[in-house]
Amino acid sequence: MSEQPHAAHGDDHGGHHGSRFIQHHYDDAQHQFDSGKLAIWLFLAQEVLFFSALFVAYILYRHHHPEIYAYAHKYLDVKMGAINTGVLIFSSLTAAWAVRAAQLRQKTLLVACLAATIACALGFLVIKYFEYTHKIHEKILFGRYFDPCVSSGNTPLITKGNECPGTKSSIVWDKATGAPASGCFPNAALDLDPRTPHVQADCKVFEVQGTESTKDGKVVFAEKGRKEIIGRCFDPVFGPGGGLGLAPNATIPAQTYPCWKTNANPHVCKGGWFFTWNCAGLLCEKTFGGEGPYATQTACQEQRSAKNGMLGGQGTATVTDCTTGGASGFVVEYGDHTVRKGNVRIDSVCKTPAPPVAVADPLADKVQVLELGEATTTNVRPLTHAEEKAAMYAGPPPPHTNMFFTIYFLMTGLHGIHVLFGVFVFIWLLIRATKGHFTPDYFGPVDFAALYWHIVDLIWIFLFPLLYLIH
């Protein structure tokens, strides 16, 4: 291109009819543009190599573990990915159009195209934000943080971390009966043996410290801190119908209720029953309480109760269980979230056990009585491909599924960083465009940024089918 004669050549960099952004060390606008274009293409070739490392990781792991990809892609939302693909393609169109507008001195159109590109880029990032937060929420993460709450077919899973949030795992107590109505304690048989899968309700229980105030007639509980109640215990406590307001010498049926135990007491018992240990010096004061009309027994009453044999024979209720400190006034939080007493409440984060996967036994209709002589076999229907897949998605992830999400987050994360960088570049271009910097002989920055933006789109064009559209 430099074979063109340069009439106004060389040193006249003072306001000749040309853009004031043409640097004096270039022969002319053409020379400056071509230099920039060469540089951006070298950069784009480098970008291809940069991303290729992650594509190698992807290809290698998919080659070795197709089962992981077949399972894990189901966690991704094709709709979100497809919308994002459309958004990026549209932004590529506006970016390409911005170049044309700059070349043709269409300032308003240029500003509009740049603004549309920025809007699309931000839209892409917002959709990505929703995808990422959903995955963080459900623990569908990379490396050792992969501990999903659901299978890729959306079946609840019991997780190692036991921290799945959401309504599916919260306890709701029936206000009238005080019995757990739903959630992780469907019945008293649950929670008995933590080693039994599908019987054990998987919960984390927290003692929540807070302050209570009354606002507009409602009790407002402001959380100040929480402490996990660890270690499940199985303590004898007073059963329903006993304990409070009993006549002296009444016998109380000793029942066993599951409860939760802090490493330093108190014990928290479900179903509205609780008791705490308040230790002051050597003297332990036991406080008992129950559901219904809120009541506690003082130490004095407890002594009377003990004298009446209420604690007789219940070996675990000994003074040696006590440690100093610990909160008093425990209540179990009810489904109506009423804080019954004091400034402490119990919160639980529970996980319902995974229901058994309802998959037809593929051999069920193959059981036949074969008789000698005649051919008595009948054709049996094998599982269809779709049924096999549904069964796979309902089950737990295959080993090392975390690898898929390590690669997913690396690829989409690096791509997302590129999108974010593009937003800043296009904002800079937008500002310059509004100032009228870009002219037909100086539009290199718009062109080069658009080329960068197209490469970002190009990478996504491959990421979308490779991550979201696995068959």
Binding site: L38, L44, S52, V99, P440, H454, D457, L458, P465, H471
Partner: protein, 128 residues
Amino acid sequence: MATAHHDDHDDHHGISHTASVKVLLGTGGALLMLTIVTVLATRVDFGTNINLAVAMLIAVIKATLVVLFFMHLKYDKIFHTVIFLSGICAAALFVGFTLMDSGQYQQSNIWDIDNPPVAPVGPRPTGG
């Protein structure tokens, strides 16, 4: 610089090629259509490998459209195509060489702490 431009034909008079509106809209429309096609193609079961091949074919077509028209490579200097393709070729070599011996270490490529790969049995020491 020429100031009068016609929307419907490509312009070569400026310092760089100007894409026509027709080309821009055509490319954008084709890309969106191909995105819909690739999503729909996933719903049809051709078998895992063919589904993958179809998805990759569509992606390559889309990428080619972007590079040729949005990125002006069709009208650009051939040297820029050389640079870009050399980048892609280097990436292809990278993938190819990495996959070449991938059959040799399948067991250990994701380390399972409970089930470490068996150490290869070497020749027994002789003598003694």
